[in-house]
């Protein structure tokens, strides 16, 4: 099970957005949330400490599941991304959860994006929270979760989390995207093979998941998965973070899905030292 989460925030962050992150984390069985502010300097960190503490208290009072959650606050100084990762490791956090702030291409090119940098650099699960508070899952209803599998390495790291019920009560759609084969016969063979693999995965999680669907879509995963997510709403999409030859130039599929998806996205990195993420 996920237990501890680190939520980076800056001081101008609107409280409802942070509350939405915490609410979603509570649905993912998280019990311990630490709000983290990274200031540019030590003096800035000292000045900000009180504000962050106040925000933690206010959120604890506002969130429905606050009785099951411990919310604490911490302020550090330094480079945002590296401090977040270092703190998450030091605190033995299971996941870093970030409220998403959409930036266009120019903004990303000039200013960078902490969320996308975290996805790229963190060796632990990163949750990008995009669901607005008004569209948050109803209390008690299972979360609708889509897991996009590459039918390869991501299953080894992501699937154990689902099998162990780490995500709490969910309705699961397992999806795989693949390039269309060169001819209709080969394409039918590809789709059949993918469906068979998805069915096997579905059977594995049926004991712990209320509903399981499988979907095979055609196209490059970078484009097809975000397109599918635009037309089919899920509370959370889960995708494994792999590595590909074009990653340094084009970014990973996980980054692309995180950027394009209208809903929240949980990115699970490859197993570190052969270990799957704790859950």
């Amino acid at each position: 099970m996920f237990e501890r989460a680190l939520v980076p925030l800056h001081l101008r962050e609107r409280r409802p957005r942070v509350e939405a992150v915490v609410a979603l984390l509570s649905r993912l069985s998280i019990h311990n949330v630490r709000l983290l502010h990274v200031a540019g300097s030590a003096s800035g960190a000292r000045r900000a400490a009180g504000k962050v503490e106040t925000m933690a208290r206010e959120i604890a009072a506002a969130v429905d599941f606050s009785d099951q959650l411990t919310i604490s606050a911490q302020t550090v100084s330094g480079s945002a991304v590296s401090e977040i990762i270092e703190t998450a490791v030091a605190q033995e956090a299971d996941v870093i959860a970030v409220p998403w702030k959409r930036k266009n291409w120019v903004q990303r090119s000039l200013l960078g994006s902490t969320s996308l940098d975290l996805i790229r650099l963190a060796d632990m699960p990163v949750l990008i929270q995009k669901t607005s508070p008004g569209r948050a899952p109803e209390s008690g209803a299972p979360l609708s979760v889509m897991y996009a599998t590459d039918l390869k390495q991501s299953d080894e790291t992501v699937f154990p989390l689902i099998e162990r019920g780490a995500l709490g009560s969910i309705r699961l759609t397992i999806l795989t995207a693949g390039q269309r084969a060169p001819d209709p016969v080969a394409e039918a063979r590809r789709v059949d093979a993918a469906e068979a693999s998805l069915t096997q995965l579905a059977e594995r999680v049926r004991p712990v998941v209320e509903e399981v669907d499988t979907v095979v879509i055609t196209g490059s995963s970078r484009k097809a998965i975000p397109a599918y997510l635009r037309w089919n709403k899920f509370h959370v999409a889960i995708i494994g973070k792999g590595s590909s030859g074009s990653q340094p130039i084009l970014g990973s599929t996980a980054e692309e899905v995180a950027y394009r998806s209208p809903g929240s996205v949980l990115i699970i990195p490859p197993a570190v030292g052969g270990e799957v993420p704790r859950g």
Partner: protein, 505 residues
């Protein structure tokens, strides 16, 4: 879905379009001429550079395919043997890809460049001669073959390797899936038929005028419109007969015989012409061509001679692209069983070398006469004023003139027949949902239609307009071919990464 079900739509729409445009070319040739000239010039003016970039991209791509891991993929099943011998294959490649055009322009083009080079080169000089030969090599060298190879390789891969119908639309399956069976696929196939009919019809029209010029020189046949129409009628009967016999016996036998005759004609001119001079021209022009290949490939000469580049290089590039559906489909149909590496290297180098030698022999001989002559440059003037007669005007200046002219006439006639024959076969295929054995009725329909188009437009003066129409079709086809590159690469990548590792286990 059964792909052949779409053949009817493609056939009917294409026939209606072709007949409509031929009628408009016959009734209002001036209007057709003005409209096509305006569109044609606008295209070359504004996006001519894109033809250069695209063609260079095609060349780089096909060379990449040959040297990469994709090179060992066979156009057929893994252990399939080639259907035709190397000689039969090369002969048909050459006849379909260059044949009649090469005979037409072999002398006329170098002399045109020599006499009318861009403004920064002095006309009728050694520098102009060098420019003329290098440019002729460039226009007829590896670039047109790269265009043809991309088209034919794509069709052959998807047909013989992947079991799809040999149609241009099939190539796009990896990108658009079943939409190839709906309107996007049909539009591509109709555009292919359109470009092929008009390309072949104009080629036949101009070819007929050249045969007429040859007959006038050798036999004193009157150089009239009636003669040209009789030539078209006779050739139509011949190629329809060849077409009915089939690919194996008809086109292959004619192509092989004609390549032998072409060699004989080249050999004779090499012997009776300025032999050492020709060999020097060949050697130094190959050197100049290879050395300047990148510069030639990407230069639109914006600072000097852009209009020259527009009139020649950009015109050729658009012409080769508009010609590519026909040559591509035909070459694909004769290339089953070859590996991609073998196909690319063979189709890129052998026809290009034969073409270079043809230009060196005929262009070199003509330039030798012009540079060493009395300064009247009469031959060059003929090339500019009456290109169809240039070859025979040159042969008249050589020993064994009558023999050479008769052989040239036969070569021209047979190329005429093989071009029309293979076009008929290809049009039949395209409008029969990709059937490798199109019905006789469809072949007869297309055969008569393209000959009628050539004859009617020759009489009305609408042939130039029709040619420009074919070239205008090159613009959408350039886009189609760029997408085709992506589709082919995607399919091969899928095969190599997803299917071959599985096959080996």
């Amino acid at each position: 879905m059964d792909k052949s079900s779409s053949g009817g739509t493609v056939f009917i729409v294409s026939v209606v379009l072709v007949v409509g445009l031929v009628i408009s070319g016959a009734l209002v040739p001036d209007v057709l001429d003005q409209v096509t000239s305006a569109v044609h010039e606008a295209i070359l003016d504004s996006v001519g550079w894109a033809y250069l970039l695209a063609t260079m991209a095609f060349l780089v791509f096909v060379v990449f395919l040959a040297v990469s891991r994709y090179g060992s993929i066979r156009l057929g099943s893994d252990h399939e043997k080639p259907q035709y011998s190397y000689f039969g294959w090369f002969s048909m490649l050459f006849a379909a890809g260059m044949g009649i055009g090469l005979v037409f322009w072999g002398v006329a083009e170098p002399l045109n460049h020599f006499h009318n080079p861009p403004a920064h080169i002095a006309a009728d000089t050694g520098a102009a001669a060098e420019f003329a030969m290098v440019r002729s090599f460039f226009h007829w060298g590896v670039h047109p073959w790269a265009v043809y190879i991309l088209m034919s390789l794509s069709i052959a891969y998807f047909s013989f390797r992947r079991g799809m119908p040999p149609l241009i639309s099939s190539v796009f399956y990896p990108l658009i899936g079943d939409a190839i069976y709906r309107w996007p696929g049909k539009v591509i196939d109709i555009l292919s038929v359109f470009a092929t009919v008009f390309g072949v019809a104009t080629s036949l029209g101009f070819g007929a005028t050249q045969i007429r010029g040859g007959l006038a020189t050798v036999l004193g046949v009157p150089d009239t419109m009636a003669s040209a129409l009789i030539i078209i009628a006779v050739v139509t009967v011949l190629y329809m007969g060849s077409s009915m016999i089939g690919l194996d016996k008809g086109i292959q036998v004619l192509s092989k015989g004609n390549v032998i005759l072409t060699m004989v004609l080249m050999g004779l001119v090499l012997i009776v012409g300025p032999t050492t001079y020709i060999l020097n021209v060949f050697t130094s022009t190959v050197g100049g061509y290879v050395t300047n290949l990148i510069d030639l490939s990407l230069s639109t000469n914006p600072f000097q001679g852009f209009s020259w580049t527009q009139d020649w290089t950009l015109f050729y590039w658009a012409w080769w692209i508009s010609w590519s559906p026909f040559v591509g489909l035909f070459v694909a149909s004769i290339s089953r069983g070859r590996t991609i590496r073998e196909f690319v290297i063979g189709a890129l180098l052998v026809p290009a070398l034969l073409t270079f030698f043809w230009f060196a022999v005929f262009g070199g001989t003509a330039l030798n006469l012009e540079l060493g002559g009395d300064g009247s440059f009469a031959l060059s003037q003929i090339a500019v004023d009456n290109a169809p007669r240039t070859l025979f005007a040159l042969l008249e200046q050589l020993p064994l003139a009558t023999v050479l002219s008769v052989v040239a006439l036969v070569v021209l006639g047979i190329f005429f027949v093989t071009s029309a024959d293979s076009a008929t076969y290809v049009l039949g295929m395209m409008s029969s949902g990709g059937s490798l054995k199109p019905s006789a009725a469809k072949k007869i329909t297309w055969g008569l239609l393209q000959s009628s188009a050539a004859a009617v437009l020759l009489v009305s003066g609408g042939l130039g307009g029709l040619q420009r129409m074919a070239i205008i079709a090159a613009l959408p086809f350039t886009l189609v071919m760029l997408v085709m590159m992506r589709s082919l690469h995607k399919a091969m990548h899928y095969e190599v990464t997803r299917e071959q590792p599985a096959d080996k286990t």
